[in-house]
């Protein structure tokens, strides 16, 4: 009941924080896609770079989020920028790794067929490798997004805003309804994002690759 009252009394605030939450996550993810997918492609072409780059991305992923924020605050201060940078670095690994794996797993005979038909390198990428690895790349985006929605909640701790704000303030004020007003939408957001991206992933899978046993 208290939760319902709180929500009804502060709809603007909750919606504002929800949008902020989405903005933070979205910016980080979109940046990670824009940089991560090409990076993933590049390391399939220059295999020597693959291990070092994946290792670095792996390190970012391993650092606990609070510690990561802590490391960056002395250099970047608190706030959205720092949060987005950390979230971006987190999202990088699944996206780069899945792009790399997805393209690498395209069968050499496919590439050979494409080249033998007279495709240029770029056409092979665009017409053979990307369509065939799209589902795997999207799976990476999906994982990154779900993780980031969660981590964005923690980013409120360093003043980035988002639904985490309600949770942290709620904890400080011992107000459960406030905690829940932040936690429930954040959880729902993650679940919805997962479902939505799962659908996108399915839609993007070329028809001929679906329902393969």
């Amino acid at each position: 009941m208290e939760l319902l009252n709180y929500v009804l009394n502060n709809p603007d605030n909750i919606i504002r924080l929800l949008i902020e939450h989405l903005q933070i996550t979205g910016t980080a993810i979109i940046t990670a896609i824009v940089i991560g997918v090409p990076l993933g492609i590049i390391i399939t072409r220059y295999k020597r770079l693959a291990n070092p780059i994946l290792a670095i991305a792996n390190i970012f992923q391993t650092i606990p989020s609070i510690a990561f924020f802590g490391i960056l605050i002395p250099f970047m201060g608190i706030g959205k920028k720092t949060a987005i940078l950390v979230l971006f670095l987190y999202a990088l690994l699944p996206i780069v790794k899945n792009t790399f794996t997805g393209i690498n797993e395209v069968s050499p005979s496919m590439i050979d067929a494409g080249r033998g038909m007279g495709m240029t390198n770029f056409q092979i990428l665009r017409m053979v490798e990307l369509p065939q690895s799209l589902a795997v790349i999207m799976a990476g985006v999906r994982i990154a997004t779900v993780i980031n929605i969660g981590t964005t909640t923690i980013a409120a701790y360093i003043g980035a805003g988002g639904l985490g704000e309600l949770i942290f303030i709620g904890i400080q004020l011992y107000r459960n309804e406030m905690i829940l007003a932040g936690a429930i939408p954040a959880a729902l957001l993650a679940v919805l994002a997962d479902k939505l991206l799962g659908y996108v992933e399915f839609k993007l899978t070329p028809k001929g690759l679906k329902n393969k046993k």
Partner: protein
């Protein structure tokens, strides 16, 4: 037949015109074909006449491993050349050097006298058909997209592409209305490879490279597709370079076979010639010694005929003829004159019918007979026997002299042995 000739003619004109220019390939103009089809121009000579692909001292090394060693060989236009050999013999490398999927370490490859290393490889490949083993089709593209791929790469407009795709699907026996929008994973292996062949034909290339295209198919489907390829080749007369490790496939499809080992061509000749005259022991082992006997078209009549068939002179009496039949336990006699010329047959029926009326053999011989020459093969003999319903066929030499006789039982002996 007219169709092939006109296509060949167009190819001929284009080649003649382009021989010294950098334009290497022809785009067959439908207008030109139609114009020529109106006139019965016999151009059978075109087939197999042209030098098309020419390897000059081509070597390919992978590190220290010599995959192809100083190869010099010419493939002629309109021929199906099968490259065969044990794995690692360099046959696939040789094939892939033609469309520059592999670059030679040394030497040059010419197509219509143009050095391929001077041609943009992408352009080169778009003008050669390429069929690879197993899943060469793109699973994420529909059948129509797969077949129309090279036309798409060559920027044909959509309506022309659609027309060509439908034409090709029809050509490989797959109804366009049924398969146009399907995907490769909805097709059987045989159907997929049919689409693979259609795709290679899409831009109507003169040269088609096939790298063990039927290797992954079950034997029955494989045989069907081989037959279809032969039929296709009769219609289109493309230059096909075909890699396989299956000798039966090679013998079935090839106009010429190149047997390779350790990066070298040991023998390059027609299947028949190779079967008769293997260059060395390796080739002999590779073809398999028993193959010669397995295939009736490679067994010479001369080698299996009865050398001294029971014969009789025309002036002999019927009594003598009958006595001779009894003695040798045969039911017919070859009638020859003094110089050995074959005149005809005297069968026991004819002899018995006329027995007692004082005739000589010359009066009762049947001169309507089918004969074969010493150079004929058993396959021909079998089909004559089936068609004419005869049990024996005389074999004559060039001077019309009787040199032997083929009977059913002599055939059974030979064919049964293998």
């Amino acid at each position: 037949m007219k169709g092939i000739d006109s296509i060949k003619l167009v190819a001929f004109f284009d080649r003649a015109m382009n021989l010294h220019s950098s334009i290497l390939f022809y785009e067959k103009s439908k207008y030109l074909v139609r114009k020529i089809e109106d006139k019965p121009i016999n151009l059978i000579i075109m087939r197999g006449g042209f030098l098309l692909i020419s390897f000059k001292n081509v070597t390919k090394k992978f590190g220290d491993f010599i995959a192809v060693n100083n190869l010099t060989v010419d493939f002629k236009s309109g021929e199906t050349v099968v490259l065969i050999g044990p794995s690692g013999c360099g046959k696939t490398t040789t094939l892939r050097m033609i469309n520059r999927l592999i670059e030679p370490t040394g030497g040059s490859i010419y197509v219509n006298d143009v050095d391929t290393s001077k041609i943009d490889p992408v352009e080169l490949r778009r003008n050669m058909g390429y069929v690879i083993q197993q899943i060469g089709l793109f699973p994420h593209m529909s059948i129509a997209q797969n077949v129309g791929l090279v036309p798409y790469l060559k920027d044909w407009d959509a309506s022309k592409r659609k027309e060509r795709v439908e034409e090709l699907l029809e050509f490989v026996g797959m109804s366009p209305s049924k398969f146009y929008d399907r995907y490769p994973n909805e097709l059987s292996g045989g159907q997929q490879q049919r689409i693979g062949v259609a795709r290679a034909l899409a831009a109507d290339p003169e040269i088609i490279l096939m790298d063990e295209p039927f290797g992954a198919l079950d034997p029955i489907t494989r045989a069907t597709l081989q037959d279809e390829l032969l039929q296709m080749q009769d219609k289109l007369g493309k230059t096909i370079i075909f890699v396989t490790h299956d000798m039966d496939e090679a013998l079935k499809l090839a106009d010429k076979i190149a047997i390779m080992k350790d990066g070298e061509v040991l023998q390059f000749d027609s299947p028949e010639y190779i079967l008769r005259n293997p260059a060395n022991e390796f080739v002999e082992d590779f073809i398999g010694k028993d193959r010669l006997l397995k295939r009736p078209e490679y067994i010479n009549v001369k080698d299996i005929m009865i050398k001294n068939p029971v014969s009789i002179r025309p002036e002999r009496t019927l009594t003598q003829a009958l006595e001779k039949m009894r003695l040798h336990k045969v039911d017919s006699l070859m009638v020859i004159d003094e110089s050995g010329n074959f005149i005809g047959l005297a069968t026991s029926n004819d002899v018995l019918e006329n027995f007692g009326n004082g005739k000589t053999v010359s009066e009762i011989i049947s001169t309507e007979f089918t004969h074969v020459t010493e150079g004929a093969n058993v396959s021909q003999v079998l089909s004559i026997m089936a068609q004419e319903q005869v049990g024996y066929i005389p074999v004559l030499d060039d001077n019309n002299n009787l040199s032997g006789l083929i009977t059913r039982s002599s055939l059974v002996n030979v064919l049964g042995r293998s």
